[in-house]
Amino acid sequence: MTDRVSVRYQPRDQVDFVIVGAGAAGGVVARELSRAGYRVVVLEQGPYLHERDFHHDEIEVSQGHSLTNDPRVSPTTFRTTALETAELRPVVSYGRMVGGGTVHFTANYWRFHEIDFVERSKKGAVAGADRDDWPITYAELEPYYTKVEWEIGVSGLAGASPFDPPRSKPYPLPPLPIKPTGVLAERGARKLGWTAFPAPMAILSQPYRGRAACVHCGFCETFGCEMRAKSSTLVAMIPEAEATGRCEIRPLSYVHKIEVNDAGRVTGVTYLDAKKREVFQRAKAVVLCANGAETPRLLLMSASKRFPDGLANSSGWVGTHLMFNGGSIAGARFDREVNGYKGVVDSRVVHDFYELDSKLGIDGGGGLDFRFDFPPITYAMFGLPMDAPTWGIEYKHMLRDGFTRSLYSLTHTTSLPVASNSISLDPTVKDAWGLPAIRMTFSEHPNDMKLYQFMLDRAMQWLSAAGATKLWPYPLDTYYPAVHLLGTCRMGNDPRRSVVDRYHRAHDVPNLFIVDGSSFVTSGRGQPTMTIQALAFRAAEHMARMARRGELG
């Protein structure tokens, strides 16, 4: 691809929209608003990389944080409850580049199911959690899920899962070819009476809209795709936004304050450029798409005389009700070559436990997959059974025999929204730009630990039915750094219990919008990017409508 010379605005130009964050949501909103005729500047913390910058190099990507936030310049702190002093620990990881997490993600694209939007009214309240219904239903979001699949490029097989919610259109692309992990997944599921269906992936099984099909290199998770087959916003949305001639992507621009005027309206944002110089970009409206950790942080850093507890925070709910997606892991060895390192990460998925029977006494549910996502160094570090030696001749032999014959079952579950689980500003630790570090407070709701165990038992059962010759569970735990960052600026109809309304407009600020993982009311069962983007398409439509009506000034 050639480099585009896109429009350049001056900071003093009052553009229509400034978007903070060029990731899963920001890329979509940028494309939709610029195509609708609006002048857009997208400010992105990270660099603007392209497929030529992506290598199959574990040192560079995984250890060097070349695509993600780097804990040494962007430290985070962690505590389990507000009674503790948080300590330095890398607990948050997100894509820090144009395209955001969609560049290095695994690309699982599950739609949420109907239950995810109405679990409170269907299943009731849960003690110790603020589970609310969403202000929108699955039916309202369905057209936008379809839009994501067709605009972004998603491969899958409609109707393959009996648990799938209704859809208005099939997938635009057939599923990727089945892998050994998928054959074994189907074999095990058949024995148990479950359904293992082709994993919906935002990876092209065939050429689509000028992009090449996947060549099955196997380096999806944590790596960028050099084929442009992974449907990141970097390749699927951003070029189309720039092609309008109305959208400027401004990388290495670290927004740290949203500015407001005396009328309580947003006037633009202040950021640090690559040389750490302060720049104020004027805009008629601001859209935060900075992820479930950076979005609340930015609102809290934007406290002012008028908004002393942080911008858009009259509810006090900014940063609260942080959710990830929990889960559990089991490992297994098989007799013959699985070669999981070839091809996309996920081949088949099980949704039989998406909605658990209330008789079990466990709220929520989850999905499961079989996968192998260990490049060589990481396999040697973490891929062997928990009781295996970590050096010596036996270690060497286990590595030799295990790499091509192992696979893992991962479960992906609900996390309940707990008020005290949160993102806040660390009172003492600063990042390399002198800004307050992200402080995470998190303890698992007891229900979620029960759910992890339940799902781990299912994973073990499934692997065993698939014919594993050795099986091992990994300890139940929440694993950090967290990558699904959800719920910290939830949407809702009640301004006392939410931060944005059903159109993603801040309850407190009429020309401020927030759409990303922070908008989630509940966590779903995993794989949130699909829903983030469906929300983004829908939100952008409403933003454009409000702008047309002159509501944004």
């Binding site: 995984s62 250890q63 260990f374 060497k396």
Partner: protein, 189 residues
């Protein structure tokens, strides 16, 4: 933090783990890894000859050599570690050097590199038990050097990749392995 808490990281899409050894600011990544340096095996960027000998002996026990199957020493992980300490892992140099000294001190007057292999293993077991973090500071670069892209100076002749059966072709077609051959896909039992 114990190993078990690290295992999930890769699964969920992130690694930053024990392997802090390799952590580096992105801009520093390729700052100073000369291509040809790995070939000049006797010349090191930061390690002294004595340090290199200790680490080399340690590496040879982490992934031992066997007939027809090179170990970490043969894969030149010492060259890898030296390259890393000079560039993308330079922050780890103090911890690395401290760990090397600790290992050598445990070996007594003769020094670790001069011990018999059996004695080296004893000393390493002792260190693993009594000074786990130092042990890991040395083990991690051995593993990384064995399996990293050879351009970093280790994994010589792709020894690590050949050991585990990883082929760096990065372009595949089904069937990918045994279980997705047509007969296996059709199997119903």
């Amino acid at each position: 933090m114990h190993d078990s808490s690290l295992s999930r990281r890769r699964f969920i899409g992130v690694a930053s783990g024990v392997a802090v050894w390799f952590a580096a600011a992105p801009n520093d990544l390729f700052a100073d890894t000369g291509e040809g340096r790995a070939d000049s095996a006797q010349k090191y960027n930061v390690l002294t000859a004595a340090q290199a000998a200790i680490f080399d002996a340690f590496a040879a026990q982490v992934i031992p050599n066997e007939p027809g199957s090179p170990g970490a020493r043969e894969a030149k992980v010492t060259q890898f570690a030296d390259n890393g300490l000079a560039s993308f892992a330079k922050e780890q140099r103090p911890d690395f050097e401290k760990a090397l000294s600790a290992l050598n001190a445990l070996a007594g007057a003769t020094g670790f590199a001069s011990l018999t292999p059996a004695k080296q293993v004893d000393v390493m077991r002792d260190m693993e038990r009594t000074n786990r973090s130092a042990f890991e500071a040395l083990r991690a670069p051995v593993i990384a050097g064995m399996f990293a892209n050879p351009s970093y100076g280790g994994n010589a002749g792709k020894a690590g990749w050949k050991l585990i059966g990883f082929e760096d072709r990065f372009f595949w077609q089904a069937p990918f392995g045994y279980y997705d051959q047509p007969a296996e896909v059709k199997r119903r039992d």
